[in-house]
């Protein structure tokens, strides 16, 4: 409906304009090429159209209540002791299963990783420091290969105002045994998070990064507009976990894409626990022969949460494999939308691709939408998909109750069990535990 566009166009950008960008840049000391990129992204943002329910990707994701005018571009503040204390339980949990980590609270670094113990050449830094110290790295990989600012209004907005986030670069042949973590916390009213995650593994490198977001329950809405880029050279192995655990007033928009090179292996697990509404585009591209991606999803929604995941498995080369398993548990009037696509290019013969979505509905008012999709250009492939939706099996509940387990605990055990086959796919126990504990914490609320 082109006629409806101008009115929406005029208002959606809120305070995210050229003037705000200038002010924003004033407070930062950034190289010219980066400033230029931001300006270009802002122009795209201003020219973009605001998503509506008429757009295919947004049909089940209603953001009419989101007003960008309620937010200001990210600003720096010094996290006070209260902010640190609020984030500490989650930090402690992550730290107990990992090596060193980066903590950012309200856009400011609250803990820098201890890089002393890391092998030489490894870069594990907050984004701003990395951009200053390793400009060549950032220029080469940042928004050039995996994620672009052209996708939609949010990707352009992110490109213009991104702040914070993490860069992990592992040089050729270096294997990091211990998981690293990155925690993003929001504690103040109306604060926003525009973090960018960039992971680059060179040939034969190995690493594990666990990322979690958290925010203390606030009265006013919060906003996350983020991006994740995972870039893997041949033979590298990456385990990446990102757990979205915002409070229920926060809007979450994220563009995420991995490029998995020749014989490289990716195990990517997403946890969707928090947010008022989330719209996530999670994509893996198998770019060369022998690339393998395992994609896991654990979602648990309550109240009126609405999480939308648009996934894509791009098979661009022969003999590539991908295996996606998303599992969701929905309570109250919450909703989870999963729309998956397996795309197999003409040259990608002998592709083996799988996608599966299982959901468990705890209430009649909860709703799950599973929309698998296949686009196959090659003729010698194996692509399968499946989706199930069901309720907690009363026979299971009875069996547990018959052994003295109260109903509420019985249901909780069944839900934990429902997620278990996702945990079982994760080869690192510490990573399993991180996710399991995040889910258990939410379950016990």
């Amino acid at each position: 409906m082109p006629t409806a566009q101008p009115r929406a166009q005029a208002t959606f950008t809120g305070g995210f304009n050229a003037e705000a960008l200038s002010d924003f840049l004033q407070s930062r000391d950034e190289p010219g090429w980066l400033v230029q990129q931001r300006r270009e992204a802002l122009a795209k943002f201003e020219a973009a159209s605001w998503p509506t329910l008429r757009d295919e990707e947004w049909r089940r994701t209603d953001i009419r209540a989101l007003k960008l005018s309620a937010f200001a571009p990210p600003s720096h503040g010094e996290p006070g002791s209260a902010a640190r204390a609020a984030v500490e339980p989650m930090r402690a949990r992550l730290a107990s299963h990992s090596g060193t980590g980066l903590v950012q609270i309200d856009g400011t670094i609250a803990q820098r990783p201890d890089t002393v113990g890391l092998p030489s050449g490894v870069v594990f830094l907050d984004f701003d420091t990395a951009a200053r110290q390793h400009p060549e790295l950032i220029r080469r990989y940042f928004q050039t290969q995996a994620v672009s600012t052209d996708a939609d209004a949010f990707s352009a907005l992110h490109g213009a105002f991104f702040t914070g986030g993490v860069v992990l670069y592992v040089p050729r042949g270096v294997k990091l045994e211990t998981p690293l973590y990155h925690l993003i916390g929001l504690t103040t009213e109306g604060s926003v998070d525009f973090s960018h995650t960039l992971v680059v593994l060179e040939e034969g490198a190995e690493a594990t990064l666990v990322q979690e977001t958290t925010s203390v329950a606030r009265q006013t809405p919060g906003l996350h507009v983020g991006a994740i880029e995972l870039i893997q050279a041949p033979g590298s192995r990456l385990r990446f976990v990102n757990i979205q655990n915002w409070d229920s007033h926060t809007w979450h928009f994220s563009r995420e894409r991995a490029l998995v090179g020749k014989d490289a292996q990716l195990q990517w697990t997403v946890g969707g626990l928090g947010a008022r509404l989330a719209k996530v585009n999670q994509e893996v591209a198998l770019t060369a022969a022998g690339a393998n991606a395992q994609v896991n999803g654990v979602m648990f929604t309550t109240g009126r949460q609405n999480l939308t995941y648009i996934t894509r498995q791009d098979h661009q080369a022969p003999n590539t494999t991908s295996d996606l398993l998303y599992k969701g548990v929905l309570k109250d009037s919450s909703r989870i939308v999963w729309k998956g696509m397996i795309r197999v290019e003409k040259d990608a013969q002998k592709t083996d691709a799988y996608q599966k979505n299982n959901t468990l509905l705890l209430n009649d008012t909860a709703r799950a939408d599973s929309i698998p999709g296949l686009e196959i250009e090659a003729n010698d492939v194996r692509c399968t998909h499946g989706a199930t939706a069901g309720q907690v099996d009363e026979e299971m509940v009875f069996y547990l109750q018959a052994r003295g387990v109260p109903r509420e605990t019985a249901v909780r055990l069944i839900i934990e069990g429902f997620f278990a086959n996702v945990y079982d796919r994760m080869s690192l126990e510490s990573v399993q535990e991180t996710l399991r504990e995040a889910v258990e914490t939410k379950l016990s609320i």
Partner: protein
């Protein structure tokens, strides 16, 4: 502690509005062993499910009490806390929940009936030690505790897991619902010995529900009852077992023509009308 009494009084039970039990009377004291026999569809499994509190089984009349507390009004977990245990004929598989984790919750709740949701579970170390000892007694591999509950268990493993649960929960009353079905004779012996050992230790009153004599060679009943047409029509000693083994149910049919008619109807409906759990 004085012995508890499980008293079933004029119990009527319906499934989907169809009455299956039509006034069952039975009293079991702790330490006693009772056998309940009867043809297919006579209501044996219905009695066990109704006593344990399966939501699909409506008690339309009568009571079942443990020391005066009416089970009928309680949730299944509260019945378990009062000391009632059902060894299921077809134990339910629960994917993703390990036998050990499940049992830790079960044992904690049953031993601390006043425990509030969310309070601490039994200390892991003590629990593991006890579980290991119980598993050793039953000749079960320790690895078994890490498997998901009944998931992919063979028939024999399932029954053994039921007895393991009984052993850990030390119930005052255990109903064994066709625990011998689907087992070969060696497995029947192992499982029966397990039951006897637990029952002796916990002074458990046992109700063995079975079609066949063979399990009763191992778990020897003092009292034998015949459930027929939804009622217990005969009670006696082991001579009843021998008589059934030799003569079948024809003499019962002849002696109780009214019940025989009901029994025929129930049998016709047995496979069609029962919910999945009872099949």
């Amino acid at each position: 502690m004085s012995d508890k009494v499980l008293k079933i009084n004029d119990l009527h039970v319906a499934i989907n509005g169809k009455e299956i039990l039509k006034g069952v009377n039975l009293t079991i004291r702790q330490g006693e062993v009772h056998a309940l026999m009867g043809p297919n569809g006579s209501g044996k499994s219905t009695l066990s499910y109704a006593l344990m509190g399966h939501p699909n089984y409506d008690v339309t009349q009568g009571t079942a009490t443990v020391d005066g507390v009416n089970l009928v009004e309680l949730e299944a977990d509260e019945r378990a806390k009062l000391g009632v245990f059902l060894a299921f004929q077809y134990p339910t598989s629960i994917p993703g929940v390990t036998l050990a984790n499940f049992l830790r919750h079960a044992v904690t709740n049953v031993r601390n009936p006043n425990r509030k949701e969310g309070e601490d579970l039994l200390p892991m170390r003590d629990f593991r030690k006890e579980l290991k000892a119980s598993m050793d007694e039953l000749g079960m591999d320790a690895e078994f505790a890490r498997r998901y509950l009944n998931e992919g268990f063979s028939g024999g493993e399932k029954k053994r897991a039921e007895v393991l649960q009984m052993s850990m929960l030390r119930p005052a009353f255990a109903i064994l619902d066709e625990t011998d079905s689907g087992l070969d004779i060696d497995a029947v012996r192992v499982v029966s010995e397990g039951v006897n050992r637990v029952a002796a230790k916990a002074h458990t009153g046992v109700l063995v529900i079975t079609h066949y004599q063979r399990i009763l060679n191992y778990i020897q009943p003092q009292f034998v009852h015949i459930l027929f047409g939804g009622r217990i029509v005969e009670s006696g000693g082991t001579e009843l077992v021998t008589k059934l083994e030799q003569e079948g149910y024809d003499w019962i049919r002849a002696k109780y023509p009214l019940e025989a008619q009901i029994e025929d109807e129930l049998e016709a409906n047995a496979t069609g009308a029962l919910p999945a759990a009872a099949r």
